[in-house]
Symmetry: C2
Subunit: 326 residues, 2 copies
């Protein structure tokens, strides 16, 4: 069995790949508290494992002073857990041994997106725009003739419409607009941290309540009522002052702004690289479908299932490793 | 001696008014921790006091379950501290006895802005727009023929350009724009809480470092270097990737967006009420001067001094009381 592991700051995702089957484990494991127990966790998933593929972002948590220290410590934990060959994917899409990975720690740091991109290029479409909408950001990755053309630094990605800071859950509504239409008037919006995209996506049925997995701005629940209350607060109101139809209309207006931001970004990348196909993944797939009408869309959720779309890098590094070792 | 007292959630401001002199005490006193010690604090300022005027917002802190409980408790503390007549200003601009104030607790709650507005109307200009830029918000209050025409609920104020949620210190830069120009490219902005208006105002010299009195987003200092670092983070950069001239240009771009928001709001109110004079106060007076070029501007800071512009409601309630008791 091949294991694809994505070791993130808050979650570790493990995909077990057999001949023609796969199974995904999504484990909440905050590395800033538990990094010393990582070996223990991984050992639970070590039976019948022949090869392990790794990508990581957990080296960025503040339990580590430097990326070098983080990469080194994480690889120690992995080596202590497994008695089989281990491969680490780097940001150029190459597999490295743990020893090579330690030497090239900057290249293996935060290379999880490359696993997804390379997998998409090799298994789904080698001329497409990969759009991955997570909880916090939307990554837009051009793939042309099998080459992954994304910029690597976040600053360059922000400058080239490849990183858009809107996500399925955590984006403050006040980031999307500082004025909205309300009761026929241009109305100012509070800049306090009162409501986030998770709230409007629950209200509009774009995600299920159980997928609203981050903390809420007021610490209250993720049910529709609690979401409506938070949206009302964005206009310094409450549910007596603003009725539910109006609150839904407010949610729709913020949603339209979010779709526009993503649409414009993808349109720019599409024009620049002459790409018309889009492959979508991540928690925000349904939202991306709304944003990208008119594109030829392939959905990782529809091809491989929801679990894969929520843990694509671990699945991808496993699938790439399967091909690599033949 | 007359005392004007503004009891806020985080700060209590006391203005001592003698025949032709005044002195302001600005005391950091977080009511959510210290409400039981309020009498003790006030007693320090009780010598030679003949009359006390009160406005408050501290009844809103979460140490109190309800506004009623808050108003009642605060007035108990005031009565225990002073052995002289006490008057509480309400949101209609009338002075009430403590007993009347307890009965009309909704009217005395958060009436501090009315003290400032009524003072401006009676002492400075009875046909003007009062613009008060504090740390978090900008209040725009139309005064026509001596009548204070502002809406009273925050929702209505947001709908009528009377409350703009941009302040001198606490507004996230990501509220002002989700894209900016950078190196000739439309560049996306991070929606994380990385930098606030206090940062750009220090960088551009609009406030002094000592006036940056709120917490910084990263918990670091308020010196220019720390502010530049935070602004770089808004583009996921650092000071090696983005040089200081570029960071200053970014600060200027966000500043222009802030000025525009305020300008448009005041222009709307000016048109609606046919008012051309503006009276400015608050920590952001210098910023308001930039925003409101072309208006006839009177500055409370220039007329009464910086201390008054930073504590206008306490000064105002004292001055109004002086007139009231004759």
């Amino acid at each position: 069995m091949i294991l694809g592991i994505d070791i993130g700051g808050a979650n570790t995702k493990i995909t077990e790949i057999d001949e023609n089957d796969y199974k995904i484990h999504h484990i909440y494991f905050p590395m800033w508290k538990n990094n010393e127990k990582l070996t223990e966790l991984l050992k639970k998933y070590s039976e019948n494992v022949d090869t392990v593929g790794i990508v990581m972002t957990a080296e960025l948590v503040d339990a580590y002073e430097t990326k070098k220290e983080g990469v080194n410590d994480i690889l120690n934990s992995v080596e202590n857990a497994y008695d089989c060959p281990i491969y680490v994917l780097d940001a150029d899409g190459n597999f490295l041994t743990p020893e090579e990975a330690r030497e090239n720690y900057l290249k293996v740091s935060a290379a999880n997106w490359m696993a997804t991109a390379k997998f998409v290029s090799e298994y789904i479409d080698n001329n497409c725009i990969l759009v991955d909408m997570g909880s916090t950001t939307t990554d837009i990755i051009p793939i042309k003739d099998g080459k992954i053309l994304a910029n690597k630094k976040d600053l360059d990605r922000l400058m080239n419409n490849e990183l858009i800071y809107v996500g399925t859950l955590r984006t403050p509504l006040s980031f999307l607009a500082n004025k909205i239409n309300f009761r026929g008037k241009i109305t100012h919006v509070s800049s306090e941290y009162f409501a986030i995209t998770g709230d409007i996506h629950v209200i509009l049925g774009k995600i299920k309540e159980e997928d609203y997995t981050c903390e809420t701005p007021d610490g209250k629940g993720v049910d529709r009522d609690a979401c409506l209350t938070r949206v009302a607060r964005v206009l310094c109101g409450d549910r007596e002052m603003i009725n539910d139809d109006e609150l839904t209309a407010i949610a729709e207006e913020f949603y339209a702004k979010l779709l526009k931001l993503i649409r414009e970004g993808v349109d720019e990348v599409s024009k620049k690289y002459e790409l018309k196909n889009v492959v979508i993944t991540g928690l925000g797939e349904e939202i991306l479908k709304d944003a990208l009408k008119g594109y030829n869309i392939k959905s990782i959720k529809e091809i491989y299932g929801k679990e894969v779309s929520l843990a694509t890098p671990s699945f991808a590094v496993g699938m790439l490793l399967k091909k690599y070792i033949g």
